[in-house]
């Protein structure tokens, strides 16, 4: 019986050993913990880029979707022939420079969903501290563009924010409708004056197509009624404008759009 016992033991060890070896010879990826970076006001762009690349490939887990180009646009190399992200980020939204666009798309990604991809990304502030977000932005800028992130963008040691962006983008007080459209990235999906992506209904002639109340409810509760022909983009429009805009801003925007007949 001892011989049988030994055979059973050897078999069990061989099977367990086989699986252990298989799991050890494949690429080893560890899920890192986001940690505050020791980057001061005098940090150089090069240091930010290095730190950002590490976060991008590690704790940020950005490569899960952005490295492949199947779940989200490929940020590492050229996506759809448009060039690397650092080269194209400044042209994505009219009125937003590269740095502002990247920060906004990291913290409010639902507002910048590229056509053909789902609205799957969450505000990275839920997972990463501010300094790591800025390091990622520096890294992305370095991919084909100029790095404009500086130590002044990073949060201060006291825990406050060196820039308004460190606590989220500052709340605008403007009542200029075009500025509001740009600040809130509406033109990332809606065309105006014959230009812009057709992800949402065009603002040209919108006042003639739907009522003023419908425009207002469309901003406050965008999924309540989806415009015909745009069903496939249902759920993409951010739902926070009711909290984000002041009453005056909302009414300015509604009246501006209602007047476009």
């Amino acid at each position: 019986m001892w011989a049988t016992n030994l055979k059973v033991l050897a078999l069990a060890l061989a099977v367990v050993g086989f699986y252990t070896v298989v799991a050890n010879i494949i690429p080893q990826l560890e899920s890192e913990v986001p940690e505050a970076l020791a980057l001061g006001d005098d940090v150089t762009p090069e240091q930010l880029v290095v730190a950002g690349e590490r976060v991008f490939n590690g704790a940020g887990q950005c490569t899960t979707c952005h490295g492949l180009g199947t779940r989200a646009p490929n940020l590492l190399t050229a996506h759809a022939g448009e060039g690397a992200i650092g080269a194209r980020c400044g042209d994505r939204v009219a009125g937003q420079d590269c740095k502002a666009y990247l920060y906004a798309s990291l913290t409010d990604p639902g507002a910048f969903v590229v056509a053909g991809f789902g609205n799957i990304m969450l505000d990275v502030r839920r997972q990463l501290p501010e300094d790591q977000i800025w390091a990622i932005i520096a890294f992305l800028q370095s991919l084909g563009g100029d790095v404009t992130v500086t130590g002044a963008d990073l949060p201060t040691e006291a825990g406050g924010a060196a820039t308004p962006a460190a606590a989220g983008p500052a709340r605008s007080t403007t009542t200029d409708p075009m500025a509001l459209l740009q600040e809130n990235a509406c033109l990332g999906c809606h065309a105006i004056d014959g230009a812009g992506p057709p992800i949402g209904p065009s603002f040209d002639g919108i006042g003639g197509r739907i009522s003023t109340d419908r425009i207002r409810s469309g901003i406050l509760d965008p999924d309540a009624e989806i415009a015909g022909g745009f069903e496939q983009f249902a759920g993409m429009m951010p739902k926070q404008f009711g909290d984000q805009l002041s009453a005056a801003q909302l009414e300015t925007l509604v009246q501006f759009l209602a007047g476009r007949r």
Binding site: Y19, T64, G67, N74, L122
Partner: protein
Amino acid sequence: MPDVLALVQAAADTAAASGYGRFPGPGARVAVWIAAQVHLMFAAFVLGVPMFAVITELIGIVGKDTKYDKLSKEFTRLLVFAYSATALWGAVLVFFLTTLYPQFWNHMARIFGPSMWLYVGLFFVESFTLYLYYYGWERWNAGRAKWGHWGLGIMLNVWGTIVMFIANGWLTYMMSPPEGVTVAGLPEGMTTWNAIANATWIPINIHRMIANAVFGGAIVAAYAAYRFLAAKTDEERAHYDWMGYVGNFIAISTFIVLPFAGYYLGREIYEYNQQMGITMMGGFMSWLWIVQAVLIGVLFLAANYYLWLGMGRIPGAERFTPYTKWMLLVLIIGWIVWATPHTMIASREELMAMGGSHHPFLNVLGVMSAKNTAVNIMILTTFLSFLLYRRANKRPTVSWAKAGTMVQAAMFVLSTGVVIFYGIYGYFVAALVRIGFSVYQVGAVLACIIGVTVIDIALVRGAESRGAIQWGRMPERAQYALFVLAVTFTWLMGLMGFARSGIRQHWHVWEVMQDTSEFAATPALGYAANVISVCVLIFLGLVAFIFWLGGLAESAMAKSVAGPTAPIPATAGGE
């Protein structure tokens, strides 16, 4: 001894200061990991085995076949020993959590306190039901009392299932806490029940119930295999051969439906948080599914190998032998396709080395269309193996036998055709449409399995026998195939435990309570595999001890039933 006390004191001091305790050697995380995983393996065993203990007992009662009753009692004897091990490892886990992760434990106790008391209470009830069920076996073995005894078995399952559901509430809360929960506890108006009935609770409950049956079947089959190898008489060998077959049949037949429960769980994880779902399937855990495919390929091969060897003890089965090599070929091709990596997390350097986001050659085989096709055909092949095994010694006598067999063959062809058609078509449509195709593929396979089985039951009713199954005439290597199945199922359980727990990453409770200990980073698969292997070896070592105890108890009982060899005094008889 003073050194040990100093170590314990130091650990307690550290825990109080940082919220985390220190554990000598491998550290706190590994200590809790091993305690939790081994506890879970025993828990799965003691929850899975009662399911078919009551089923086999029922078959024995209805069919008046004592063979099934004996089998059921033998299952239950293993339970009595395994139950103690489950409780012991549960206690180890609680002590480790309270001393090594005190702040986390406080958080959990604050939210789930009342359910923990209920859990302990039900554990008592479950234990005593088990003792009544096992020790009352001979006392309540006939008539209405036997039905009452069977009722105890049912209650044992009910208590065990409720206990598992409660514990599942705690662990699923860690994955998918309700909106509004903070480190301080539940928000105003939210109750413990809301925390238990969270987004992934029901899918985990279903998945675990099925997995427990699979696991219990595999371990019982391994027990039977060991007893077969140790058997000294043909009668014993026949009994344990049959027991191994039943255990394996239960394990494989329930295993086939497990992926559907897995899909449901995965879908709910995506629904709760897409990022968590993507991390699980395509993030740093993407390679885990390749390892899983390797394990499941082994399971398919070992299960089919066991069936093919089993046909050697069935008169008439030799007519099917020429087909086995083709079935083996199909299984191996399917395995290779299934284990092909595709959407793997990659760095910029790796992307450039591949010349794109995917490997230029493996890209074709690794996509979901190919993998779904491969796995469905593997399931169909295994079902065909089982069907041939079942039909081996039967000569149908119904007038429509030939037509019935033709219809069965047509069902196989049609179902394979549907699977392959959608597999190929999937390459030419968008991802969202392609995902929907898996429903048609699975539907075709399930329809085939159900349809063919229904026809087969009617077709072999009253069939002539080509000869009785010669239980016990099974080569020893078949028993080793059962060991491979049991070890693989156990390892797979450890791997899936890592997947479920690991997707929380550096959170004790997802986006509510962060792990700030030195072990917060979720380890890579190699490290995880080492810990899983240690857990599996601890579990199997203890199970081997339990098996040995089972044999010891049996021989002691056999001796006591045989009684003393001296003549019984005349006064004892009364006359």
